[in-house]
């Protein structure tokens, strides 16, 4: 086993993702403490513009070839398992996206390596990794010990500062051939969502509604508050899955990332996947009858009352 810390770098539209920089920053700190290197592993077909963004790492391994031109779980697991078997880093860090989930969990089963997901922190105790993870929708934290040749860790977005992973250095770039194509999963195309009536990423004020609203007919009260405040309505994922609001209004991991001046969360618990999309809002107000809801951990002002009492009262006062 080496003391190197690997990260799986994600990129989309020629840009390394924010989450990947977070991982590289954390890998650097862990590697420095252990006397190893922070190695950024990146897969793709034409990676020149991508590796140029990886100056924050100590070294870069690019797995280049047509079979990994686009993400597929099979090709990524095949490519990275070959690397892990050969190099045995102490740790490999992944994001919590679809790529990170499929890669880390596929690798852990294929190679018999320990894996912890939803990580907010990682440290080492001897050769073991100690990972703190968010569980139960963010209501509790679990501290787990991972023992094995290489510990695999998938982190929650926002767990580490991204700036620590950026840098202008020019680490050595080693090129490794991609595995042969695996016909069992083939990439066809990316589908982008259609343009929406309202772009919630451009609004200064968002009133976001969650499953706590209980029924499509009740969304009206949130629309009235948004209108009184001069903002727009946004929502959590279950509201979209229930067909109550269009996908374009969804905030979070699989929705939009927003940074309004004011974000009022109504009946939203604050699961990690939701927080990922709104935790950087300038002012966050949460209304949730459960005083232990994780949303209060990121909100600036909290109201632990029934939304059906508070929302109409607010609308009336604001509308004047």
């Amino acid at each position: 086993m080496s003391q190197d810390i690997f990260t799986l770098v994600e990129h989309r539209d020629g840009q390394v993702t924010e989450g990947s920089f977070e991982l590289i920053g954390k890998a650097k700190a862990l590697a420095a403490a252990a006397g190893g290197k922070a190695v950024a592993v990146v897969l793709g077909d034409d990676l020149g513009a991508i590796t140029a963004q990886l100056g924050g790492a100590d070294a870069v391994i690019q797995v280049a070839g047509a079979s990994v031109a686009d993400f597929t779980p099979t090709a990524y697991v095949a490519a990275v398992s070959a690397l892990l078997r050969e190099r045995e880093p102490a740790l490999m860090l992944f994001t919590g996206s679809a790529e990170g989930m499929d890669s880390s969990a596929g690798l852990s089963a294929t190679l018999g390596l320990p894996l912890a997901g939803y990580a907010t922190d990682v440290s080492r105790e001897g050769d073991a990794a100690v990972v703190t993870s968010q569980v139960y929708g963010g209501k509790l934290m679990a501290e787990a010990v991972l023992e094995g040749a290489t510990a695999l860790v998938s982190a929650i977005a926002g767990a580490f500062p991204a700036d620590a992973g950026r840098g202008d250095g020019s680490p050595a770039v080693e090129t490794v051939d991609a595995p042969a194509a695996d016909v069992r999963v083939t990439f066809r195309r990316l589908i982008h969502p259609e343009a929406a009536d309202v772009d919630i990423t451009k609004e200064d004020i968002l009133v976001a509604v969650g499953r706590g609203i209980g029924d499509a007919d009740e969304i009206e009260i949130v629309e009235e508050l948004a209108e009184a405040l001069g903002g727009a309505v946004a929502c959590s994922r279950p509201v979209v899955d229930a067909g109550w609001l269009p996908k374009a209004r969804q905030v979070g991991k699989s929705g939009h990332k927003v940074k309004p001046k004011l974000y009022v969360a109504v009946g939203i618990s604050g699961a990690p996947e939701h927080l990922e999309g709104m935790r950087d809002a300038e002012l966050i107000v949460a209304i949730n009858s459960d005083a232990k809801a994780p949303i209060f951990g990121v909100a600036h002002y909290g109201i632990s009352e029934d939304l059906f009492d508070v929302v109409p009262a607010l609308t009336e006062l604001v509308a004047g």
Binding site: D102, S108, F187, S254
Partner: protein, 253 residues
């Protein structure tokens, strides 16, 4: 297509979560169990596929607290068979569960195995890719659409911003479902009761399998680092105080 859907009961987050004296798990006596919400989507997607193209749906769960409820409900919704694997006092973590499930499901010739994309209660990864890894078949997580295709299925995998990738997947395969094409159907209590009287759950023996070197040693409430300033005093009072705050910040005229 013959589809297996893996179901799992998880603690209801609407109830208080009590940590056991060991400090490393929830107090089992205080948990109220509900079906993992994404499993409901996996089941719905399986039933929709069956209704569109024929085949069968088998609901599968590891034996444990309130598992029969989940299985009978699946039968009431339209699953053809229900399978209970082993009997576990405390639910095994993902890798151990996946190894046990893979051992039972592997020999039964399913074209597709669906599960919810994730569950809230364990740290050691996601079941779909782990079951697939043990079976040596392909997997895709965060699936929002499944359509039959030549030699397998075409699926959508969802990324940030609502962008999706369209992937062709040979079957057999394991898919972690994020959302079904329709809101999961509801089974009225009367139909669930009827299923309890008219159907049987097939039971298969299974022993606990080994995990992969992950031990949870502590469970704890998040440290109240950044916590909201709570406004209290009843709906009208908090509304007034909040409007004042918003006025001070120029967010309300």
């Amino acid at each position: 297509m013959n589809i297996a859907v893996i179901l799992k009961q998880v603690p209801d987050l609407a109830e208080e979560l009590e940590i056991a004296d060991s400090g490393a798990e929830l107090d089992p006596d205080e948990i109220s169990w509900v079906l993992n919400e994404f499993d409901d989507h996996a089941l719905e997607e399986a039933l929709q596929l069956k209704e569109a193209t024929g085949g069968t749906v088998t609901a599968v769960a590891l034996g444990g607290e309130d598992v029969a409820d989940a299985l009978y409900t699946a039968l009431a919704k339209g699953a053809d068979t229900a399978l209970k694997v082993g009997d576990f006092e405390t639910p095994p973590a993902t890798h151990a569960a996946a190894r046990t499930l893979a051992g039972v499901l592997g020999g039964r010739g399913f074209d597709l195995i669906l599960t919810g994309v994730q569950a809230i209660d364990d740290v050691d990864g996601w079941t779909a890719p782990v079951v697939a890894g043990y079976l040596g078949v392909p997997h895709v997580s965060v699936v929002t659409h499944i359509a039959p295709a030549d030699g397998g299925v075409t699926v959508n995998q969802e990324y940030a911003g609502g962008v999706v990738a369209e992937l062709d997947v040979h079957t057999p395969a394991v898919l972690g479902v994020q959302a079904a094409r329709a809101v999961p159907r509801y089974a009225p209590v009367s139909k669930v009761r009827q299923a309890m009287q008219t159907s049987t759950i097939e039971e298969v023996d299974a022993e606990a399998a080994a995990g992969t070197g992950v031990t949870v040693r502590r469970l704890f409430a998040p440290e109240a680092g950044g916590h909201a300033e709570m406004l209290s005093g009843g709906a009208d009072a908090v509304a007034e105080r909040l409007v004042e705050i918003l006025k001070e910040r120029g967010l309300v005229g």
